[in-house]
Structures are given as structure tokens and as C-alpha cells.
């Protein structure tokens, strides 16, 4: 069973309440959407890293030192 924690700041009461079937279903939908978004972000980051490595290799081939490349 999955619970949510609800803190009533007016009383200080902390309750652990089981998720309803509707909340569980909503959570699964959101998790799927966020997983897809995360995959897109990770792919974009990998593409950016690959482009950076490629650019650095081309600069090195032109004769720039590692320190000179890092200074750009």
C-alpha cells in the first residue's frame, strides 16, 4: 500500500493516508509522462556532449592545445 503524508500546519497533525485508486492511476500516468520527458532531456544532453567533444576534437586538429580549447 502506498501512502501520502499530509501535514496540517494549523494543528501540527501528521497523517499517513493510503492513496485512492484514482490517485494511483493519476500517479502512473504522470510517471509515464515524466519518464518520456526525462528521456528527451537525457537525449538532448547526450547530443550536446557529443557535439562538444566533436568540436573540441576539430579544434585540437587545427593545432589548439587543451588549455587553449578550455579557455574558449
Amino acid at each position: 500500500m502506498t501512502n501520502k503524508i499530509v501535514v496540517d500546519c494549523s494543528t501540527g497533525e501528521v497523517q499517513e493516508i493510503a492513496l485512492t485508486a484514482e490517485e494511483i492511476a493519476e500517479r502512473e500516468v504522470m510517471a509515464a509522462e515524466y519518464a518520456e520527458q526525462k528521456a528527451q532531456e537525457d537525449a538532448a544532453a547526450e547530443a550536446k556532449a557529443a557535439a562538444k567533444a566533436s568540436a573540441e576534437a576539430k579544434l585540437a586538429a587545427l593545432g589548439l592545445s587543451a588549455d587553449e580549447i578550455a579557455a574558449l
Binding site: M1, T2, N3, K4, I5, V6, V7, D8, C9, S10, T11, G12, V14, E16, L19, E23, R27, E28, M30, A31, E33, Y34, A35, Q37, K38, E41, A45, K48, A49, K52
Partner: protein, 169 residues
């Protein structure tokens, strides 16, 4: 300038974990709010959690700046405010991330800005440090704050959240 910090409420997640942590009935008697979260995700694959006010998932916008051990990035996801602050369960065992969420003028009738400073912990190349500038475009006073892991995981046992009220006088 804030000169008083008052602990409004706090919670420590128990052995069953928690799908969400929801601070409700927040009094409007302070100037700003501060949430300090020490958290870990029970699932692997995602270090993010969402921040919602008054159970609203709309009218939220953000700019995120972050590094993850190799690259630095900036983006603006169109959906929920989503800092990376709860290490996924594949990260170094028993480590917890730290997050501060600062919400100035939370009870005003203007739109609500927030800033988030978050890090994960991981004894490996990949570990996140992130700043988020967020906006909730809503005139309602903030009366509840809900934190939810973005994967299907839960906040793990011993995760803690503290809510402070800050007054300017």
C-alpha cells in the same frame, strides 16, 4: 530583510515511504516561506520531484540551471516545477539530497515567485546541482505545498521536510 525564522511543521518519512509530502492549512501570518527537504527516491531512473501549490498543476513556469558531473545545462520544462534533489535509488546507498525552496510573499495577491537550490548525492560522476527560478501565476495565497517524486517511486524512509515561516519584522 527577513529576521525571524519560525518552524511551522516538519515531517520524517516512515518505513513505508511516502508518495507525496503535503503541507496543508499553512497560516498566512508570515512574509515568506522556506522548505528544507532532505530526500531520497525509492525508485531508480529519476532524481526529480515536483512542487505544487494549492493542489494546482497549472500556470507554472520555470528556468533551470544545472550541472550533472559532465555538462552544464539550462532548460525550461513546460510542466511542473521540477528540481533534481532526491537521489534515485541506484545512487550511493543511504545518501540523501538537499533542497531549499524559498517562496517570498506567499500570501500576497500577486503572482508567486520561488527559488530552488537543490543537489543530489552520488559517489560517481553523475550527481546534480541545480538552481530553479520558478513562477506560479496565480493570485491566491499559498495555503498548501505538495512535494511529489516524479517517477513512480516514493520518498524513502528518513526523508525529512521542514517548513519555516519567515517574517520581515
Amino acid at each position: 530583510m527577513a529576521n525571524t525564522y519560525t518552524l511551522i511543521s516538519s515531517v520524517t518519512v516512515g518505513s513505508g515511504g511516502a508518495a507525496t509530502i503535503d503541507f496543508t492549512s499553512i497560516p498566512a501570518t508570515y512574509t515568506d516561506l522556506l522548505v528544507k527537504l532532505s530526500g531520497r527516491n525509492s525508485a531508480s531512473g529519476d532524481d526529480r520531484f515536483t512542487i505544487e501549490f494549492n493542489n494546482s498543476s497549472s500556470n507554472l513556469s520555470q528556468r533551470r540551471l544545472y550541472g550533472e558531473g559532465t555538462n552544464v545545462n539550462s532548460d525550461a520544462p513546460a510542466s511542473a516545477i521540477q528540481p533534481t534533489g532526491i537521489p534515485q535509488d541506484s545512487y550511493t546507498a543511504n545518501t540523501f539530497g538537499n533542497t531549499e525552496i524559498y517562496i517570498p510573499n506567499y500570501a500576497s495577491s500577486n503572482n508567486k515567485s520561488l527559488s530552488v537550490d537543490a543537489i543530489t548525492e552520488n559517489n560517481a560522476t553523475t550527481a546534480y546541482a541545480m538552481m530553479v527560478a520558478g513562477l506560479w501565476s496565480d493570485s491566491a495565497a499559498i495555503t498548501s505545498i505538495k512535494l511529489t517524486p516524479m517517477s513512480s517511486g516514493n520518498f524513502k524512509q528518513y526523508s525529512t521536510a521542514y517548513l519555516y515561516g519567515i517574517s520581515n519584522a
